[in-house]
Symmetry: C2
Subunit: 312 residues, 2 copies
């Protein structure tokens, strides 16, 4: 084990989009900008900054264009935005976002419930957006959700997922993120799915998007790494992606991921200490504790250190 | 990966001891008994029920003898109790506990700070207890703490750990639990240490005891499983073992472990649904939420289900 680990992997930060869209209250534009700039300062080069979805559906991110316009980022940071349709694509394009992200589900029931479309209908819409996005010169990321377990159907058929992955890549999608949307996957499923996919698609186009709802996210990352995947999604502090109660974990926390990758000697270019500052900032702007484990331990230990400093 | 997983592993439950000793308030004896009996009903066959340490040091477990006397457990459940010295051993023996557990640190600084003894001094005391315990017919478990990272010294030398493990097993210790006491290990360290140990000691005598302080516990279990270890310690709800702030994670939660093992097809004999009941009970008797991730998600989803039931 760990005899052929990659020297470097890409961490794709989804917090400003996937995290903030799940917050009840609207986070002011200036705070969003501050968080995104801090994440970039910590060394993250791929950041999903917002979505261009109707504000009727996601009012939390109604200020996407303003966020994009206000950001001052190093030239090598690739910003992305989620777009559900051609209208969203136009807004993203006007906002100057380099990469656009499209999404669909790998299970029929989840697709119907989430976007009221069958898988085939979703592929059609998505295809139009991908073609138009490529014409406009955008990089395109795809999100395929519930690739392991569906909340309505249970286990999702691997072959069905593989066929869908092939269709999506054939459209010209540059990078496809496979989502364990309800955080139910265990490492054996990751190994099996990636092994199957590796037969028909290039693994360098795959990203894995884990949720830590049942504590298995980093174990799944290990399985993904061992299987040859080199891009992993994460969210600052574990913000967002939570289908359950407040306090339950959703997205894999970026700090937990970086801590483990550091320990494994896998480079990411991200400064863990600065990332903890970002986590503290995220907690400040949303006004509550985030579920990330490393963040909690690091902040508690900083508190202790500053207590001891004060006592001297 | 996962081509030679064991068909079955042993889960060693430490919650009633390692968990409750860390609670601020004293949990009534009857509640402790209720929790231990519930854990056994869920299928756990190895449960550390208390310690026989001076009540001056650990008043929370001053009722060890009463707990042991009150328990009604199936005959195949092996109870254990932590004993720091011959006096503790006598109490454990009188209480009818089948297995006794001794402990020491793998780093000099942690040993000095924790029990005010050098490693050599600790080995001497421990050896006396082990010999006496074997004479009295007890099974003996050893805990070796900070085998990966020490809070005072940083990385602990693997060869030093291996030599200590050999010395401890040579005394006649039946099972040795290797502790990542501050929850700082990453999976590569687990693979390296177990590989080294496998050269000189039988792995079936080893247990791994992970903390989830930085979210890496299950990833470390995967590394341990892949390396041939078949006993893993865990604590109901992740109770106890937390060196940081309230709310930060300590011990690996038993439910998270069982959930992942179920997913991997590794049998444990534990009923996950009953374990969630135990987690709820643990929360009730200590009066606060526990950090276990699966527990939180499962209880939130039960709440939702009973809400929907009520709405019908």
């Amino acid at each position: 084990m760990f005899e052929k680990l990659p020297g470097q992997v890409t961490v794709f930060e989804v917090g400003p989009r996937d995290g903030l869209q799940n917050e009840e209250r609207f986070v002011p534009t200036a705070d969003k900008v501050r968080l995104i700039e801090a994440l970039a300062s910590a060394g993250l080069k791929n950041i999903e900054i917002t979505s261009f979805v109707s504000p009727k559906w996601i009012p939390q991110l109604a200020d996407g264009a303003d966020v994009a316009a206000s950001l001052k980022l190093p030239a090598d940071v690739v910003t992305s935005a989620l777009v559900p349709n051609l209208k969203g694509l136009d807004s993203a394009h006007a906002a100057g976002v380099r990469k656009v992200a499209v999404f669909m589900s790998a299970s029929e029931s989840h697709s119907k419930r989430n976007i009221n479309k069958t898988i085939d209908e979703a592929v059609t819409t998505l295809s139009e957006v991908v073609i138009a996005a490529k014409e406009k010169g955008h990089l395109v990321r795809g999100y395929l959700s519930v690739v392991f377990e569906c909340p309505y159907e249970g286990s999702v058929n691997r072959d069905q997922v593989a066929r869908l992955v092939e269709r999506l890549l054939a459209m010209g999608i540059d990078e496809l993120s496979l989502g364990d949307t309800i955080g139910a996957a265990t490492p054996g499923q990751v190994v099996s799915l990636v092994k199957l996919l590796s037969k028909s698609v290039p693994l360098e186009k795959m990203a894995l998007h884990f949720h830590d709802t049942r504590g298995t996210a980093l174990a799944n990352v290990v399985a993904g790494l061992e299987s040859g995947v080199t891009t992993f999604d994460a969210s600052i502090g574990g913000m967002g992606g939570c289908p359950y109660a407040p306090g339950a974990a959703g997205n894999l926390a970026t700090e937990d991921l970086i801590y483990m990758l550091n320990g494994l000697g896998v480079k990411t270019g991200v400064d863990l200490n600065k990332l903890v500052d970002c986590g503290a900032l995220a907690q400040e702007i949303i006004g509550r504790q985030l579920p990330g484990r490393y963040l909690k331990a690091a902040l508690a230990s900083r508190d202790k250190a500053s207590c001891m400093e004060a006592k001297k």
